[in-house]
């Protein structure tokens, strides 16, 4: 039982990273029908910005709480800005081109981000400052660390906030309108380019939070870390039904749990195989994912 609880908490923690990153995939897909293959690397860039700020903070004598807040905010703003710049220069000119063309530029951005970070920070591992120790508490015989609780709580707060934003603000309504029909939204006076930029900003900043938290949790980051998380998050978004925001959150947490259980009860060498088989099996039974709606095409 204690092992089970341990695995559930570990799964929810990594699942929170996946869910936050999956939100970016799903929001961008919902609005511009693009699978943003660079999004995993956006997460990685967020982790490196957070690392830069926290290393500077650790050198000064600022209280760690304020330093952490500063790192999160700066990582969100800068990474969000990078997301907007990428959208503006690499994606926007191709929004009306064949979908595969924009997919290839997304792959190009992904390679560029990885190698850009490699050039600046080097190929090795960068260690996050040990701001939060491994203190925690016991629950049902399992050791739960404070950082795990912090990660899960912060992720749920952000996800709830995003849900409220999308459903209860003017811009959120505009985002949903765009997802249904971009041209009609434009005719209704919505500034489509601006809404797309806001979507990229939000998606990128959520990924940045996940990046900083992953750095704090695993304490080591490197330029290649975005690949696995991006892949799992993308899987999560599809599993939940791509384009569907609650679906991405649920998908992320499910993938996290699946990963924890397969590593705990089977072998971590087979984790990816199990995750993909579950995904393929789900899609065979329900081709639009767990929460995706069937698109009825008019003949």
């Amino acid at each position: 039982m204690s092992e089970f609880i341990q695995l559930v908490v570990a799964g929810l923690t990594t699942g929170s990273f996946y869910a936050l990153v999956a939100l970016g995939y799903t929001m961008v897909y919902g609005i511009v029908r693009l699978i943003n293959f660079a999004h995993g690397d956006i997460f990685m860039v967020g982790a490196f910005i957070g690392w830069t700020v926290l290393t500077a903070v650790a050198a000064s004598h600022m209280p760690w709480g304020i330093g952490l807040l500063l790192a999160l905010i700066l990582a969100m703003l800068l990474t969000g800005g990078i997301g907007v710049v990428i959208e503006r220069f690499a994606y926007q000119p191709l929004l009306s081109a064949p979908p595969l063309s924009i997919l290839i530029t997304a792959l190009g951005v992904s390679i560029a981000l990885e190698n850009g970070v490699l050039l600046i920070f080097g190929a090795g591992f960068n260690t996050y400052p040990h701001l939060i120790g491994s203190e925690g508490f016991m629950l049902g015989g399992a050791h739960i660390t404070n950082i795990q609780v912090g990660i899960i709580v912060l992720s749920f707060l952000l996800m709830g906030g995003l849900y409220l934003f999308v459903h209860h603000t003017f811009i959120g309504t505009a985002m949903r309108a765009l997802a249904v029909d971009r041209d009609a939204a434009r005719l209704m006076g919505i500034n489509v380019e601006r809404v797309i930029q806001i979507t990229f900003f939000l998606g990128s900043s959520l990924a940045a939070v996940a990046g900083v938290m992953e750095g704090l949790y695993y304490t080591e980051i490197n330029f290649f870390m975005g690949f696995v998380v991006g892949l799992r998050a993308f899987t999560a978004a599809v599993l939940g039904g791509i384009g569907n925001i609650p679906g991405a959150m649920a998908g992320g947490l499910l993938i996290g749990l699946l990963e924890a259980f397969s590593a705990g009860y089977i072998s971590s060498r087979w984790t990816d195989v199990i995750v993909f088989l579950v995904l393929i099996g789900t899609l065979v039974i329900k081709p639009t994912g767990l929460f995706g709606e069937r698109v009825v095409e008019r003949m």
């Binding site: 699978i35 081109a97 924009i102 290839i104 530029t105 560029a112 190698n115 195989v273 003949m299």
Partner: protein
């Protein structure tokens, strides 16, 4: 083959291949090695091009087939002492089987979901190779023998390069012939509009599966070559990044364009070598160059051209035995019952909405029957039920005396029901002529192999097939436009082309869904004439139309639907004076019975 030499691009291609063939005689081994890498990528990209370029599907795990080919050759050589040539059939077999395995779950998925499923499949294959002992785990397999030809081991870079070039030429011939075959046409129609392809008789699921399987075979062949070249393989050659590189070649070069794909292979495999002097900056510069190239040329560096098949000349076409369509139709329908189709209590429910409820009607052979009714009456839903696009929730459809069980749309077409769409759905990036050919390909009974080998009887059949296609274009008056891109036709011509495409399958029953929508009065007049001529061929016509002048002028009988139900049927004049019909069109409480129908038809024409 003689057609190949007539084109300047083909001639240039042959010159390029000749240059590639003599390359080893004046180049350093390093250059030959790079050229061999380009050749390998060229083979793989030509295979992926079938999936991505021809059929318009996405595959992010193509390296899996490459891996399966390479591991098959490696394992059979090292464990069972097969020689290289003996392993190739097995490489193809296993790659083909895995093409079926990956194809099957993806058949029903939309293209965006294909991305992750194919990516997952690629990762699964790589992880299995990494984790199993038999495949050597992360270290892979050593000591694979080189290919042996007439007692000589092909070990030197130049001889392996020659082998690779031979493979490349074989694959090139295969993909060029495939692209021009009826299967290539079916792939393109799938890429352009999957539902329309299915509705004109293309078995889309099988055609998709064939794209995956043939793509997989070529990937497997590339893998065998790779194993024999290096003598050692390990999982790091078959990563997601490898799949992505092959995809980049296809898209950057130009989807569906063979010269484009080869150019892409030269750039993607050659550019990193050329950029070696940049050291650490190499990948970064490569990525930026890739983004810029895609921004400048979103269609690819060398986009595919419109494929042209010249229709036979008029004299040629008329001299063929297939010209007399009316006789053929009379032959096929002789002895069949007079009632062609009967809808018995057909209902269709969407959620809580009864779009069609308990609809009964019969269609007699040789008549023109119209279904009219206000918008939302359920007319198109009836069409969709008849043609297998959606199954009816209840009731039966009797076709030539036998129930039409839940068949896929392409099988319904094969039984002799063809349709057009309310919103025009042509294959925009095919020529006018090829649009018609897609519509009749399900009647073309020459095996694909003999078509690709251009056996003399297959050539004769192809000629007859093309002649019949030309006659259908002539029937609707589009012969002069045969070579144009279908998407460039004016609106009225697109409508007529859609009718020609449906007719080309020689249906017993043609279903026309609002063919006059958006036409001007002159075009409507000629459409009326066309519908009568179709009937005179012996083809029964079922028409949905809002234009009352056209309906009343052309129909033998009219069925009126409102809110999912048939409210009246009979001759045009009977229907015109039916009070329920008038009520459905003008609402209750109208007293001017006599004038209202005039108002109906005036209003509908305006």
């Amino acid at each position: 083959m003689q057609g190949l030499l007539n084109r300047p691009i083909s001639a240039a291609g042959i010159v390029a291949l000749a240059v590639a063939a003599i390359l080893p005689f004046f180049c350093h081994n390093y250059i030959v090695d790079v050229a061999l890498t380009i050749v390998t990528y060229g083979i793989l990209a030509l295979g992926l091009n079938i999936v991505v370029g021809y059929a318009g599907l996405l595959d992010l795990g193509y390296a899996a087939f490459f891996a399966i080919g390479a591991y098959t050759t490696a394992l059979l050589e090292t464990l069972l002492n097969f020689n290289f040539w003996e392993t190739i059939p097995f490489s193809l077999l296993f790659a083909g089987i895995s093409g079926i395995i990956i194809g099957y779950p993806t058949l029903r998925l939309r293209s965006d979901y294909l991305a992750i499923v194919t990516l997952g499949f690629g990762e699964i294959v790589r992880i299995i190779a990494t984790n199993l002992d038999i495949t050597g785990g992360p270290n892979g397999i050593y000591g694979i023998n080189p290919a042996n030809l007439l007692g000589h081991d092909l070990t030197s870079p130049k001889s392996v390069y020659a082998l690779g070039l031979v493979f490349l030429v074989c694959v090139l011939i295969l993909v060029i012939r495939l692209g021009r075959s009826r299967l290539g046409r079916a792939w393109t129609s799938l890429r352009e509009d999957e539902n329309a392809a299915e509705a004109v008789g293309v078995p889309t699921l099988r055609v998709k599966m064939l794209a995956y399987v043939i793509g997989a075979l070529i990937g497997g062949l590339g893998g065998s070559l790779f194993a024999a070249r290096f003598g050692t393989i390990d999982p790091s050659s078959f990563t997601y990044a490898q799949s992505v590189s092959i995809l980049i070649i296809v898209v950057l070069g130009g989807r569906g364009s063979i010269p484009g794909v080869l150019l892409g292979a030269i750039i993607i495999a050659g550019l990193p070598e050329a950029l070696r002097f940049l050291n650490l900056w190499r990948e970064f510069v490569f990525a930026i160059a890739l983004i810029l190239l895609m921004l400048v040329r979103p269609q690819g560096l060398w986009p595919a051209r419109l494929r042209h098949i010249a229709p036979p000349s008029a004299e040629d076409a008329h001299a063929t035995p297939h010209a007399e369509v009316a006789e053929q139709i009379a032959e096929t329908t002789a002895g069949e019952p007079d009632v062609l189709l009967e809808a018995r209590d057909v209902s269709r429910v969407f959620g809580g909405l009864k779009a069609v409820s308990n609809v009964n009607f019969t269609v007699h052979r040789g008549e023109i029957l119209s279904i009219i009714g206000p918008n939302g009456a359920g007319k198109t839903t009836v069409f969709n039920c008849l043609t297998g696009v959606i199954p009816p929730s209840a009731g039966a459809i009797i076709w030539n005396g036998k129930p039409l069980a839940k068949l896929a749309p392409h099988k319904v077409v094969a039984r002799g029901l063809a349709r057009t769409f309310q919103g025009i759905r042509l294959f925009d990036n095919l020529t006018v002529f090829e649009n018609v050919l897609v519509g009749m390909d399900h009647r073309f009974h020459v095996s694909l192999a003999s078509e690709m080998l251009a056996l003399s009887y297959a050539r004769r059949e192809t000629h007859l097939h093309h002649a019949a296609g030309r006659n259908w274009l002539e029937f609707v008056g589009l012969t002069a436009q045969a070579g144009l891109r279908a998407g460039d036709l004016p609106y009225g011509d697109q409508r007529r082309l859609e009718i020609a495409r449906a007719l080309a399958g020689q249906p017993q029953l043609l279903l026309l869904d609002e063919p006059a929508a958006g036409m001007n009065p002159t075009e409507k007049q000629s459409l009326m004439g066309l519908i009568r001529r179709i009937r005179d061929l012996g083809t029964t016509v079922l028409l949905i139309e809002h234009d009352m002048l056209l309906v009343m002028g052309v129909s033998d009988r009219v069925i009126v639907m409102d809110r999912g139900q048939v409210i009246a049927s009979g001759s045009p004049s009977e229907v015109q004076s039916n009070p329920r019909v008038i009520e459905a069109y003008l609402g209750a409480g109208e007293d001017e019975d006599e004038d209202s129908l005039a108002a109906v038809s005036e209003g509908a024409v305006a």
